[in-house]
């Protein structure tokens, strides 16, 4: 009964929590438009509040010190004029134990597209946040961005290190066990 109360209270808490901002899932897909000369892009489209948002990142796999660009399209769901305010782009480090965040720019629409350039000096996982305010409501759109390829040595190196230490450890323990057995047998032999 006590647990049931806790669960009910938790559900009620979730339900009554004010929606401070709109957030969306950033699961990208890679695409190539065969009719254009543009490089492969990472893109995502989603519906958020009263807006339909489409963003693209060029190139799809940016490397450190390589200039890249985000194109953001924000259209009202009722098909009226595109969003005309300003969008702020922020970036934060998505690696564990790091929450450093900085603003990379504030953009007004250029031909209905919010364009934001970027250059990252370090490879790693980042979260880009596009923020704007419409009808008195804050809108936040998060999407992940990977800069550079992760090192193949990481998981392989850790796996090899763990395996070697366990196998060598087991081998040493077993040798000591065998040696101890031999010494005990020799002592017993002498005692007889």
């Amino acid at each position: 009964m006590k647990h049931l109360k806790t669960v009910v209270l938790f559900v009620l808490w979730l339900w009554t929590l004010p929606a401070l901002a709109h957030h969306v899932l950033g699961r990208p897909s890679y695409s190539l438009n065969e009719d254009s000369n543009t490089p492969p892009s990472m893109q995502m489209e989603t519906q958020i509040g009263d807006y339909f948002v489409n963003y693209m990142v060029y190139p799809a796999f940016p490397r450190p010190n390589e200039p890249g660009r985000i194109n953001l399209y924000v259209n009202h769901l009722d098909g009226s004029a595109p969003f005309a305010g300003k969008v702020t782009f922020r970036v934060r480090d998505d690696s564990w134990f790091s929450r450093h965040e900085e603003t990379i720019g504030e953009q007004a629409p250029d031909d209905n597209v919010f364009r934001q350039g970027f250059v990252f000096s370090k490879k790693g996982d980042y979260i880009i946040t596009a923020a704007f305010e419409a009808d008195g409501q804050p809108y936040l759109i998060d999407f992940p961005l990977r800069i550079g390829q992760p090192s193949p040595v990481g998981p392989l190196g850790i796996s090899v290190a763990v395996l070697l230490s366990v196998l060598i450890g087991v081998s040493l323990i077993q040798r000591r066990r065998l040696m101890r057995g031999k010494i005990r047998a020799a002592h017993e032999e002498q005692a007889r």
Binding site: L14, H23, E45, V166, L167, Q174
Partner: protein
């Protein structure tokens, strides 16, 4: 742009519904046959092929060849995943692992039982690394041979690992990330090897491996089994080579004695028993599917949780591939202030998906206990009837995976020419459409197979309820059979949910 596969047409949906209702009525009004078909057919008696089956079962050579092949593919996945292109559809690590292996694996259980475990690359590589032998028995001192701590001597660790893998697969999105796919493959190899180096026999296969245990439970419904040809020979056997092994052959990796085996759940099909039996008394046999789940397998508390977890996770897999899932998650994220990859929202969704079916099952068991008025404790009844989850999960899992297998493997052969995807560009829209339209079998045949599987699954689930309820006053007349209603309602509810999921458009994986 999200592309979706069409769901099962309503005509087939109606046909499955009709069969479900007829089978439910049959369960309520027809008594259970006291002695169901117990036929078995030993495959070594097959004209012509029998000798081949006997050779493949009793000699390690053929299995070793398959193991080498599977290890080669595994190493290719590791190399391609870690050093290849991050585009999932152009990298063989993701395509081979998630599109072919993970989907084909479940289909293979339908025909071959737990055969995959016999060629599993994690176990093979762990064996080679720890024992330094290709197949012969290694000296015992290669491993510490510790006993698994009693708290871990059940399959709840496998269930927890399965939930963890599901979280990584669907929450973090490992299926579309070659690097993460290779990293998980390596993690499983490390777990298998460390377990083999520390514990006696194959503790990883027996207690920890979520893939092996999933295969094991589904194999209860497989039409094949590795069993003694004559139980009389086993009852007079004094050496128990199947359990202890012999000078050349390793003992049973999961502590099974062939003379007493009654279920496939923990058999890894390694064939050690067949190779070591001095009486040549172990062979592959054909059997009626479902008899093991409905009567032979013994109920255990931890196994009941695994079976129900398997059912819940299978439904959850289907749910996350529906187009509406993302809007559900976005809605929840807005409520709780989640952002980024929405892992908190996903975790809540996963927890609810686990709790709801298991809760409904517990309620059905509780009602049954009240109705039949037996002195059996709730936990015993819970474990005894949980076998109903196996055919329900397997039927939906098979039907769902057939979609992936048939619709998403076009172009896989071409990946072998550039397995790392070096220099490859993402699929263009034209290629995506071409892949979407090119099925490995005609679409109508796919729908018929899916509907057939759903009908078979429901039939087996009802049979499990009928046979597992024998002794709970079920055979005392039609009125007493009405007491099965809570469990039949649970089965109908779960299967109707599966059918509804199957009838929805499903998002194309890659």
């Amino acid at each position: 742009m999200i592309m979706t596969h069409p769901g099962l047409p309503w005509g087939w949906e109606l046909a499955v519904w009709a069969v479900m209702l007829l089978l439910t009525l049959r369960a309520l009004y027809r008594p259970v046959a006291a002695n169901p078909g117990q036929w078995r057919y030993t495959l070594t008696r097959l004209p012509g092929l029998g000798a081949l089956v006997r050779y493949a079962t009793r000699h390690p050579g053929p299995l070793l060849v398959l193991k080498v092949f599977s290890v080669a593919l595994f190493l290719l996945v590791i190399v391609a995943g870690l050093a290849g292109s991050p585009i999932p559809e152009r990298n063989i690590a993701t395509a081979l692992t998630w599109n072919l292996w993970w989907t084909g694996l479940i289909v293979s259980v339908f025909f071959l039982g737990s055969a995959w475990c016999a060629v599993c690359p994690w176990d093979t590589l762990a064996d080679w690394l720890v024992k330094h032998r290709l197949w012969r028995r290694a000296p015992a001192e290669r491993s510490l041979n510790l006993r698994v701590p009693i708290q871990l001597r059940n399959i709840l660790p496998a269930l927890l690992l399965f939930i963890g893998l599901t979280w990584l697969e669907l929450g973090v999105g490992v299926t579309t990330n070659p690097y993460a796919t290779a990293s998980i493959a390596l993690l499983m190899l490390v777990l298998a090897t460390v377990s083999l180096a520390l514990f006696e026999r194959k503790a990883f296969c027996r207690y920890f491996c979520p893939v092996g245990r999933t295969i094991g439970f589904y194999a209860q419904l497989a039409p094949v089994e590795l069993r003694p040809i004559s139980t009389d020979v086993c009852s007079t056997c004094t050496t128990l080579d199947c359990y202890h092994g012999n000078a050349d052959i390793e003992p049973c990796p999961t502590h099974l004695v062939m003379g007493r085996i009654s279920q496939n759940t923990y058999c890894t099909s390694c064939g050690h028993c067949a190779q070591s039996c001095p009486h040549e008394n172990i062979a592959w046999r054909l059997r009626p599917p479902g008899t093991e789940a409905s009567q032979d397998a013994r109920p255990h508390w931890d196994e009941a949780w695994f079976m129900l977890g398997l059912l819940a996770l299978t439904l959850f897999h289907g749910l996350t591939m529906m187009p509406f899932w993302e809007s559900w998650m976005t809605g929840l994220a807005r409520r709780i202030g989640d952002s980024g990859q929405l892992l908190w929202s996903f975790s809540i969704g996963l927890t609810v998906s686990l709790v709801v079916p298991i809760g409904v099952y517990a309620l059905a068991v509780w009602l049954t206990q009240r109705l039949v008025r037996v002195s059996l404790p709730f936990s015993r009844l819970f474990a005894r009837l949980a076998f109903v989850a196996v055919p329900l999960a397997f039927a939906y899992h098979l039907a769902h995976n057939l979609n992936h297998l048939v619709r998403e493997n076009d172009g896989l052969a071409a990946l072998f020419t550039n397995p790392l995807g070096n220099g490859a560009l993402p699929l263009s829209m034209a290629e995506k459409h071409a892949r979407h339209l090119h099925l490995l079998i005609p679409q109508d045949m796919l729908f018929a197979l899916q509907a057939g599987l759903m009908m078979l699954g429901f039939y087996l689930a009802v049979e499990v309820i009928r046979r597992r309820s024998m002794g709970l006053t079920v055979n005392q007349g039609a009125a007493s059979r009405l007491r099965l209603l809570p469990l039949l309602a649970f089965t109908l509810l779960i299967h109707a949910t599966s059918l509804w999921l199957l009838a929805q458009p499903m998002i194309m994986r890659m």
